[in-house]
């Protein structure tokens, strides 16, 4: 043997294998194991799905009662035909896993505070945040409660069994792409993961308060309550609420008692505030539109229901279309990978949709512990024992972290000495949130899937707790309705807008408003119902709705304005309306700019921008330059007016709403905040501010023009990110108009996540589209194939088929049969 060459070449081989089999650090993240990832028989090449791939197969799996047929149409939407409900949910779980396994598991890693386990230590702050806010606890509570209902338990279990049945069929080389990229493996699906996912939705839709309550407290302490109340008022002059104004509400069944010391302790004198920013702040635009028009306003004489929930836009998409057909129901719509049943959709008799209520259901209480061990806290004049919860966070390549969370009567202590930042130093803040007390999970949607009429609809939604939603409804029999439903707290005015004292029970929540008193209308005279996250009622509603800044104002105005004037409405009209880019805010704000600007003081370029703005049709369409100019000037103006008032603040501050500035300028030409407090010898007027804003915006606009990016869509630059925010797996530079105050509320990374229109004719005529694709595999042609249609405002006719029709429909391309065995 040539010992030295043999050893050398052996060592070289081994070293190379080890090198190619190790994740190497690149930037902040890690590379895949290169040899594994590139191996054509093991790695990512296996995920390169043939574009002519057939999905037809016969599967024999354990756990079904009967045969199940799944017909898959040309858009990869499955139509499930099962002999019983549990088989249908089993197969729904199987299909979710087959097409979205990585996503559905990843989402529960986020929600359950487990990202460090797969991505390493950098994700620890987010994991700790989610553990401490009570995500796992809340999911467990809800599961425990729902498990007492045998039907719901069986449903969620059947779904989990279906997911696991799919995981079991997976050969090592078939695991989804992202597992190979990040180098981990799928684990078993468990029912609690479904509840964790639903907790995430609750977080996304109701937990802005976890951040805003802190910021609002800072602002109140920094500005004093009087000024605060001016900048963050609780009145919206132009409000067009969900329930029409002048509706008479019955006397409240309960009047919350206002604590005696509220003025001294709560509103003015809680000087030592605390603040911090959640690492993943729910988007303020997490809203939505929904409406239903009665037969009296449609061409067909039958109602039409529309819904487009606005959420963060991601790939793989949050939504997955499905039709579920069993002897008990026949339902089509958008489902959540991770959860059984349809969330937004329709069945043979009715259609329903949701928008976010936006009510405040999350509060902080400032806890006084006896000492740093957090064993006892001062409550109603005595020391009370707290309990403790330990959550174990696994960290890739590091020892586990044991997260100790004290639990008080109010809820878990989110911020303490171990989880804090400079401004929460020394504070103990307990969080009280309707989501982490037991909810009813999926029951509402389970019942909506089967609802036949308005009574079923009401029974289905009346138990819904969190996140509070505006449930819109329409039926073939001609009824339309909308109800804001959730567990909402009967609050005294301003209760929970700021951090509350946690030393006695007088600041605690006193009662949940009975469901029957939640705002609702059925078949109103005006012939339509609608919601767009605005305040549900005017100020005559007998309960405090929460800070006005929680409720976007303008989409609701334009929707109601349009629906009021429209008649003989068709589904096509509704498509046009849902994708409308008209900016009603600009309609109200543009005249103010021109009222106060002295164009003689502007240079040629600045005048040119203003003349484009003057001619603008107020639509934020793709190529409109006026939209770019308007938004640039308005943002500069907001900065000019408010920045000086906040710039000395050391803590994070909320920014006043556009609506507040607009209202102030409409009312008051001598707006006191117009003055720049940094200029000692001069009192700036609103004229000065607008002039400066135009000049500053023009400089920015000139730069844009130089880069040939003055068109609105180029500036907005909408993108649909992969969940890992990897650009190569995302769709960048999607050409689409719209914006935050338009019905088409598409912003940079946020917007209509599912557009649906259901015309309740005898044979249902339904349309839908979402910015994604049915297959979560980046290597599939179905990964992002809906995006271009969505951006262009094109809808797909939804195939709602009987089994007989499915067997011979030309748009059905594949057929999977599931047989028990």
């Amino acid at each position: 043997m040539r010992i030295v060459p043999f050893l050398l070449s052996s060592i070289a081989t081994a070293a190379l294998v080890v090198g190619l089999n190790t994740q190497l650090p690149i930037g902040g993240s890690k590379s895949p194991r290169l040899g594994y990832f590139l191996s054509p028989q093991h790695g990512f090449w296996q995920n390169a799905e043939a574009t002519n791939q057939s999905y037809t197969e016969n599967l024999t799996i354990k756990g079904l009662k009967d045969k199940v047929d799944v017909f898959i149409d040309e858009r990869l939407v499955p139509h499930i035909y099962a002999e019983n409900d549990l088989d249908a949910y089993y197969v729904q779980g199987f299909l979710h896993a087959k097409f979205r396994l990585w996503q559905m598991e990843f989402q529960t890693y986020v929600a359950g505070g487990r990202l460090s386990e797969i991505l390493g230590e950098e994700r620890l702050p987010l994991d700790r945040f989610f553990r401490r806010i009570g995500m796992v606890y809340g999911a467990e509570q809800t599961m425990e409660r729902m498990n007492k209902d045998p039907l719901m338990k069986a449903t969620v279990d059947a779904y989990a069994n279906g997911v696991n049945a799919y995981i079991k069929t997976l050969k090592p080389e078939q695991i989804p792409f992202e597992y190979k990229l990040l180098d981990y493996k799928p684990e078993q699906w468990t029912p609690v993961k479904t509840y964790l996912f639903l907790m995430f939705m609750s977080y996304d839709l109701t937990a802005r308060g976890a951040t805003t309550d802190l910021k609002m407290t800072n602002a109140k302490n920094y500005l004093g309550f009087e000024s605060f109340d001016k900048l963050f008022p609780n009145i919206q002059d132009s409000l067009d609420p969900i329930i029409p104004k002048s509706t008479v509400f019955t006397q409240p069944s309960f009047n919350p008692i206002i604590p005696k010391d509220i003025d001294s302790i709560y509103l003015n004198k809680t000087n030592n505030s605390s603040e911090t920013i959640a690492p993943l702040v729910p988007n303020i635009n997490n809203g939505s539109n929904n409406w239903a028009v009665a037969g009296s306003k449609t061409a067909s004489g039958k109602p039409i229901l529309c819904n487009d929930p606005h959420l963060g836009l991601n790939l793989p998409s949050l939504w997955y279309e499905v039709q579920i057909n069993t002897p008990t129901h026949n339902t089509y719509g958008a489902s959540f990978p991770g959860s059984p049943a349809v969330i937004i959709g329709f069945n043979d008799s009715i259609a329903w949709g949701v928008t976010n209520a936006g009510r405040d259901v999350i509060d902080y209480y400032n806890i006084m512990f006896k000492d740093t061990t957090m064993q006892e806290y001062w409550y109603n004049g005595a020391w009370k024992k707290s309990s403790h919860r330990i959550e174990t966070i696994k960290i890739k390549g590091k020892p586990n972290l044991e997260e100790l969370i004290a639990v008080t009567d109010f809820g878990p202590v989110m911020y303490d000495r171990s989880f804090k930042n400079a401004s929460t130093e020394g504070k103990y803040l307990a969080i009280k949130w309707t989501a982490n007390t037991a909810g009813n999970g999926l029951q509402t949607f389970y019942q909506l899937n089967r609802a036949k009429n308005i009574t079923d609809y009401q029974n289905a939604i009346d138990t819904w707790t969190c996140p509070g939603q505006n449930f819109v409804f329409a039926s073939k029999s001609g009824d339309i309705a909308i109800k804001q439903q959730g567990a909402f707290i009967a609050r005294w005015k301003r209760q929970g807008d700021f951090i509350m004292p946690g030393t006695d029970s007088s600041y605690d929540w006193q009662k949940i408003i009975p469901s029957i008193e939640n705002p609702m209308i059925v078949n109103p005279a005006r012939g339509f119902v609608s919601s767009a996250n605005q305040m549900p009622t005017d100020s005559t509603y007998p309960y405090y709705l929460g800070a006005a800044s929680n409720f976007p104002l303008f989409r609701g105005i334009v929707i109601n304005k349009k629906l009021t004037t429209m008649n003989s409405i068709t589904a096509k009209d509704m498509q046009k309306m849902q994708t409308d880019n008209y900016n009603i805010f600009a309609e109200m704000a543009r005249p103010i700019l021109f009222k106060y600007i002295d164009e003689k003081l502007l240079n040629v370029n600045e005048q040119r921008y203003l003349s484009i703005l003057k001619k603008w049709n107020l639509k934020q369409d793709i190529a409109e330059q006026g939209a770019t100019i308007f938004n640039a000037i308005w943002d500069s103006l907001s900065q000019e007016v408010f920045q000086d008032d906040f710039q000395k603040a050391k803590q994070p501050m909320p920014w006043p709403e556009d609506a507040t500035l607009l209202q102030s300028l409409l009312k008051d030409s001598a707006y006191s905040y117009a003055d720049n407090i940094n200029t000692k010898n001069k009192i700036e007027t609103i004229q000065d501010d607008i002039l400066l804003a135009v000049k500053k915006a023009s400089a920015y606009l000139q730069q844009l023009e130089k880069d040939d990016k003055l068109n609105w869509a180029d500036v907005k630059d909408t993108r649909i990110n992969h969940l890992l925010k990897i650009p190569a797996l995302s769709r960048l530079h999607v050409s689409i108009g719209g914006g935050k105050n338009c019905i088409n509320a598409t912003t940079e990374m946020h917007g209509p996540s599912w557009r649906m229109i259901v015309h309740l004719t005898d044979e249902i005529e339904a349309y839908g589209v979402y910015p994604g694709g049915q297959n979560g595999n980046p290597g599939s042609r179905f990964y992002d194939n809906f995006i271009d249609s969505w951006a262009a405002g094109i809808y797909y006719r939804l195939l709602f088929l009987t089994k007989q029709d499915a067997e011979k429909n030309e748009k059905i391309k594949w057929h999977i049969t599931f047989i028990n065995g």
Binding site: M1, R2, I3, P5, F6, S9, S10, A12, T13, L16, V17, L20, N21, L34, G35, Y36, L38, S39, P40, Q41, H42, G43, F44, W45, Q46, N47, A48, E49, A50, T51, N52, K171, P172, E173, F177, I726, P727, A728, L729, P778, G779, S780, R781, Y783
Partner: protein, 124 residues
């Protein structure tokens, strides 16, 4: 033609052992080693055979997958790495990595064989 046989055997055995995806991706190290022991060549030629066997196999398999996929995934991965979105470059790198590992394993096998023949001579 020893080298042709060696290349073919290296590729064929690597493919076969690669079908058992429960085994690690680098299992062909052993087959390439054995081929080089069994088919005695000069070290340079052994390396070349080992390299070519896997280079051809991995390139071919990647090209087949990629063609059926119309470059959807390879283009994304080639942007991720970053290779400027060039799927050809990605296929080439795939082949090179498989080839390099196999070539080294074959070289080790070749040098191992040298000992066996040498020992035999001594015994005679």
């Amino acid at each position: 033609m020893k080298i042709i046989t060696a290349i073919f055997l290296t590729g064929f055995l690597a493919f076969t052992i690669g079908l058992f995806t429960i085994l690690p991706w680098w299992s062909f190290v052993f087959t390439s080693f054995i081929v080089a022991v069994a088919i005695h060549q000069k070290p340079v030629l052994a390396f070349l055979s080992g390299f070519s066997g896997l280079f051809i196999l991995w390139t071919l398999l990647a090209v087949l997958k990629d063609t059926d996929n119309e470059h959807i995934l390879s283009t994304k991965v080639a942007n991720l790495f970053p290779l400027g979105g060039s799927y050809w470059l990605l296929i080439l790198i795939t082949g090179l990595i498989g080839g390099l590992v196999s070539g080294l394993a074959a070289t080790a096998g070749c040098n191992f064989r040298k000992r066996s023949s040498f020992n035999k001579k001594i015994i005679r």
